[in-house]
Structure formats: C-alpha cells, structure tokens
Symmetry: C2
Subunit: 194 residues, 2 copies
C-alpha cells in the first residue's frame, strides 16, 4: 500500500529496511470522498497529505465566496497548507477532495521526530521543498509576465494529467481567471500553430 510513497522518497534518498519501516510506522491512512473536506479554514493543518490515489485541491475562499486554487494534488503528490503546517496555527486555506481519494498522512509531530531520528528524512523533505519552491517561482513569473491565454497554454503543456481529471472551472480558479473567460480563451484558439 505504501510502495508509492516509499518509491517517491527513494527517488531522492535511499532507505534501509529499518528506515522504511520506521517511516511507515509513522504514517496513517485515510479515505476521503469527493467534495469532502480534509482541512477547513481556521483549522490547524496537523498532517501532511500524500495522495495515494484520487485528487485534492488547496484553495482560499475570498470575501465574495470565490475560490482561488493554490494547488492540485494527484497520485504521488504531497499537499499541505504550508503556513499552517509549519507553524501549527490556524489555516486560511481549505483542502478538499475533487475525486474519491486514498491518502497517506504524516503529522508534523511525527515528521519532526523523524527528522531527529534520521536526518535522511529531513534531507528528503528539504529536497522536495526546494523543488516546490522552484516551481512556485515559475508560476509567479508566469503570472507577472504572461496574459491568461498563454498561462493556460502552458498549463495544458505542463500538466496534461490534470487536464484529464479537472473540470474547466477549477482550472480557471487555478489560473486566476473567471470560468467565462477561460471558455472564451479556449474557443478563440482553434489553431495552435507557432
């Protein structure tokens, strides 16, 4: 069951059998149904989520009720409200399931204990956090330098897997545009030639 997450870790650091078991002993598991909340605004994000199957999203709801999506997570991705997770304070994000999903959970407490017991795990999280930081920087650059149509084109190119399982209005909420405008972008670009 945990092969996926162990493999993910071993892309970055190699583990002994003892370490694998140690790690797994710290995990718990959870099934969550479509539209069910994992984290609601104001709660504390006590556990980091690794998606074994399904799809989740992390988003903020503004004062007008509009959702703005920070991240999608499908199979083999981590998802957390970093701010709340690292400080263990109230979240201002919501995390819920877009599909029925199977999750592996690691509490912040267990994570820190793991870091103390075995620096390899701290290395693993250091590395994936570096990688995520790089991809967040790319996303910011796209936002401050490209119009919506090009950001959408890049999204299609970079995340073909997401395109398959996400409704259009969710993609719009991720790109920072209205669903109406995304619809117009899609129909105004029938020819994708350079």
């Amino acid at each position: 069951m945990y092969q996926l997450i162990i493999d993910n870790i071993q892309k970055h650091v190699s583990l002994t059998e003892y370490e694998k078991n140690l790690f797994i002993s710290f995990l718990s598991t959870k099934h969550i149904k479509k539209r069910e909340f994992f984290l609601q605004e104001g709660e504390i994000n006590t556990h980091a989520v690794f998606v074994l199957s399904g799809c989740l999203r992390a988003y903020r709801v503004d004062e007008n009720g509009f959702e703005h999506i920070l991240q999608f997570a499908i199979e083999d991705w981590w998802i957390i409200d970093v701010m709340s997770f690292i400080s263990q304070k109230k979240s201002y994000l919501t995390i819920d399931a877009i599909e029925n999903s199977h999750l592996a959970l690691l509490s912040r407490e267990h994570q820190l204990e793991l870091f103390n017991k075995c620096p390899k795990f701290e290395r693993y999280f250091r590395i994936i956090t570096e990688n995520r930081m790089a991809s967040l920087q790319c996303r910011i650059l796209e936002h401050i330098s490209l119009p919506a149509a090009e950001r959408y084109a890049n999204f299609v190119k970079d995340y073909p897997k997401f395109m398959l399982q996400l409704p259009q209005n969710q993609i719009a909420a991720y790109l920072g545009i209205t669903p109406e405008f995304l619809s117009k972008i899609r129909h105004k670009t029938p020819n994708k030639k350079a």
Copy 2:
C-alpha cells in the same frame, strides 16, 4: 563580519563554536556595485547569496526586454535562482545589485558538504526553504485573487523597508504591472482610511 549570518542561522538552530567556524570556513565574500550583475541569464548559479548589506534583485527579462522581478533581497536575506542552484544548470534569471552591496557566498558544493558533515545545517536550510515556500504561496494567492491596487497596498504594508530603498518602477515590475499604472494607482488613493 559574519555575525549577521550566524545570528540568522541561530534563529533556527543553535551552533557550537566548532560549527560556526566550519560554516564560516565555507563562506566567501564579495563586494558588488550598483547595477553590477551577480548572475546573468544562461550562467549557472553556483553560489547562494546572503546579503550582508545593500540590495539585490532576481528577475527575468522577457522577449520584449521587460523585466519581471521575482525577488528583492536586502540585508539579512538570501537570494538565489533556486532552479539553477539546485540543478546546477543554466539560469533563466538575472541577479544584479540595486545598491552597492556586500555579500556572503556559499557554493552549492559546500552547502551539500555541510549537510553531510552536520545535519543541523540541512535543518536550517530546510526551515528557511519551508518559510519561503509559504511566502511564495501567499504571493500567488494575492496574484490570483486581488487587483493591482490591493496588491500594492499589501506590499506597502508588508515590506516597508523595501519601500524606502526601491524606485517605483522596480516595485511595479515586482507587482506585475506597468510603472505608469502604478503611478496612477498611487495618485488615485489619497485617502487610506478603512
């Protein structure tokens, strides 16, 4: 000379004298003048930069020659092109000095060696990378949910120090708007009452 950076580290992990000296032995130092490049597009970002004094910026130049600023760094801040630094591949960002600056440098090679010799340093960088990831997420959320005038207001509120040393056109390039529009925003908001 390195007191600032040692103090910065000790906000997150405590160091023995030996560890302090080990760390310092891996640092080098550099003076850089206003408008001088630290990193040009296409080069490899071999060294992480810690600003001892002055001010730097990391930005991307688009095909029309416009600059889009990803990050400013003043005294007590780190600045790198993460993507290039962690992969040691060609950068697509430029880093240069906004003011005459004094820098402490740590090569990726030395950094990784440090991680192996002393996990405390890996912890320090894990922590500051987590923090940066959280702040990048905030910035993305602001971009996808707020109009320029509010993003500017937040910038003024969150980074008063930057306001003191940065010209307006640089702030516009950071906010993702034109300098002309920022000027209009500033003059259309004479009253800052709630």
